[in-house]
């Protein structure tokens, strides 16, 4: 009896240590894999997992941008709007150029993509100016910009989807493959890699952590805190805008109504991955895993035929669970530290 109890307490200690080190994500991933494998036999197939990867691309790209905002101690609630505005502006520009010069397909695609990404990034520029130079709280600034951007997207389209883009756009960036890998996945992989190098191999990346970790200390150490904050929101918007263009290619239309769930899902992906809401803590590779986890759960729930309304309930609950787990983790850190 005593031996069994001792063994049990040893197991809990190991689990506790693992929890403190790794956070909640590995446990959730494991639970999701087990549950959905039991619920649907189609879940754990390479075909379906490739599907998950492809479906998660958009959230992954938005989440790595959102992570920057969280790292500096803020967040960006306007990522959904940025997605929509990029989609609408990009589709309109592309369709207009294509209509004027039907033979210049790749020129129209290039101009369209640049226009969409520029339009989305502009929202980030405004967010950055507000947060970094006028000391508006990120909450108010991005909430306000979410409304502004959504309004502009609806105004541009009258609420109607934008058609008329060259078919090659969707074929390449929506459904295309390169070396057997879906193009959107390649784009996401490239962005993640580029951001990884930027964050962990250059001084500028360290500055994001420093500004979130202690803004005053960063400033006294010669770091341009305003510039870093500004760049945070510009980069965050840039990533969201790229996701918007990729999603536009997938849908083959420019839509003002996409991305509404992105703010919640991207913040959830980050928080589940252990990014601190207080700023300064979080790893890029974990955020990618966090976004994949959310994609996995959504896919699993679809296969298990769980209604889409209920799915949003599950997502919200997961987000809150992750925050609670983070608090418990902090408490364990304190006790294990002594």
């Amino acid at each position: 009896m005593a031996a069994r109890r001792a063994a049990e307490s040893a197991v809990t200690l190991v689990l506790k240590r693992a929890f403190v080190r790794l956070g909640i994500l590995p446990f959730l991933l494991l639970a999701a894999l087990v549950i959905f494998t039991l619920m649907s036999e189609n879940f754990l197939t390479s075909r379906n997992l490739t599907n998950v990867l492809r479906q998660s691309v958009y959230l992954t790209i938005v989440s790595i941008g959102q992570m920057l905002a969280l790292l500096t101690g803020g967040f960006d609630l306007s990522v959904g709007t940025i997605l929509a505005l990029a989609s609408v502006a990009g589709a309109m520009a592309m369709a207009a150029v294509y209509a004027a010069m039907p033979e210049a397909i790749w020129l129209s695609i290039t101009i369209g993509c640049l226009a969409g990404i520029a339009a989305g990034t502009m929202i980030g520029v405004l967010n950055g100016v507000g947060v970094a130079f006028f000391n508006v709280s990120p909450f108010m600034m991005s909430l306000g910009m979410a409304s502004v951007g959504f309004g502009i997207a609806l105004y541009l389209t009258g609420g109607v989807p934008v058609y008329g883009m060259p078919i090659q756009f969707g074929d390449t960036f929506g459904f295309g493959n390169f070396l057997g890998i879906p193009t959107p996945v390649l784009v996401a992989a490239f962005l993640v890699l580029a951001l990884y190098v930027f964050l962990y191999r250059t001084p500028y990346g360290r500055h994001f952590y420093a500004v979130g970790g202690n803004r005053k200390a960063a400033s006294l150490s010669g770091i341009n805190t305003r510039g870093t904050l500004f760049l945070t929101y510009v980069l965050c918007a840039f990533f969201a805008a790229v996701a918007g263009m990729l999603l536009t290619a997938r849908l083959d239309t420019g839509e003002a109504n996409i991305g509404a769930s992105m703010p919640l899902e991207s913040i959830a992906a980050c928080v589940i991955a252990g990014v601190s809401l207080r700023g300064g803590v979080g790893r890029l590779e974990n955020v990618v895993l966090g976004a994949l986890f959310i994609g996995l759960v959504q896919n699993g729930m679809n296969l298990a035929r769980i209604e889409s309304y209920l799915q949003t309930v599950v997502l919200g609950a997961l987000l809150i669970l992750a925050v609670i787990a983070d608090q418990i983790r902090l408490k364990y850190v304190a006790t294990l530290k002594g």
Binding site: Y204, R206, G213, K216, L220, G222, L336, K337
Partner: protein, 508 residues
Amino acid sequence: MDGTSSVSGEVLIAACSITKDYPGVRALDAVDFDVRAGEVHLLFGENGAGKSTLISILAGAAKPTSGTLWFRGREISLHSVHDARELGISAVFQDFSLVAQMTVEENLFLGEEPRRGAFLDRLRSREHAREILDELDFRIDPAARVDHLTRAEQQMVEIAKAFRSDLSVLILDEPTASLTNHETDQLFKLICELTARGIGIVYITHRMAEIQQIGSRITVLRDGRYVDTVNAQSASEEDLVQLMTGREVGEIFPARIPQTEGEMVLKVENLSTRDESVNGVSVEVKSGEIVGLAGLVGSGKSELMQAAFGAKEIVAGRVHLFGRESTGHGPKRNIQDGFLYLPSDRRTEGLMMMRSARENVALAALDVEPFSSGPILTLGGERRAVGDLADQVNLQPRQIERTADQFSGGNQQKVMLARSLTRDFRLIAFDEPTVGVDVGTRAAIYEFIVELVRHGVAIILISSDLPEILHLSNRAYVFYRGRVQAELFGAALSEEAVLAHLFEREGA
């Protein structure tokens, strides 16, 4: 235990053979401690000696792993701070438990609001608050918001909170750490009144001068163990240092470095800041010397260096750094030019508490070798460089990947000091470098500063600690209300002279 005979009050609270284990660490090892009515019992020891753990057990905030607590001869067990309060045991910790946006009276009765039926009884609450404040002779308006009060007044509110119910033991954790001399005097007067009423006081401090001023008995802890209890009036400073560190420290201060006539490093002329904390101040610093900036909290001594460093806005005056005008240059430019300012408050201004020691040390040098080459960080070079610096400042434990908040106060300070060695600084301003650190670390920090001077670095030492200024600096400026009151050097740099200028011309 020769000191105990001189105190003869009733034993209020006694801790017998208290042991406290945290996973992997024994914070307290069979420690005995008692407080008698009418005494000030000082707890003395280096950072990490177990003082904080002991008082949190006495205050009910932590539970001992083994050992017993006795209150007025009865065995008790405390499950919460509330339990301790019921018995009249209250603690005032360094971090105040006040809600800044609420008024004094709201804070006083937080959690125990006087009520009439289901509603707040504002009238009674106001009256009761006045009674408590009057009884303690605190001149504070009960309707004032806490964030409008000075740090000392906030401390008074915190103490007043302890008087909601009948108080028998009051625990004060470094209460004077952020008080000015005048405020400290006020606090000591209050402590005398409380002991006269038969209240027992547990008092933690790092300041030697306070011991003889108010102490009755001193209990010294080292590494979680009880060392000795001595009479405060008869114990000498040397005795205490030896008890506390377990070794002969002898002189805390290193030998003074002879003044060498160096070139001008920093020249500040008639500088004023936008927030008017500094008014028309001129200061000169030459290489190879330590220049002390003395003054009370808020006298403009820190603010001057922040302005010269570019962290505070300048409205008038000029700054020359290494012979070139640098007025209005920001911290980044100044750091690149070889000037570093290390702030006094390491938690709020100095360190990223949840990032590693490595990142904290490297923070101001990410743009130079060996931390980076071109636009790319050199992670290996960084690790080696920070590792070497950790050895140099004797970081304990020497784990550079530990987050800053997992180090003791003294070692957090060392992390910050190591930053001054990450690149070729020729002028370093240390703002209160020894606040809240133990004697051993203090000696190490002084040695560190002197070593920098030997290598030709010019040092500005901003300090409220008078002995520090007197023993280390070659020259000192005394600040008072945003102005330089005196420049002292040589024989004129004496305790009397500095003190005279700290308060002189009040109201002028």
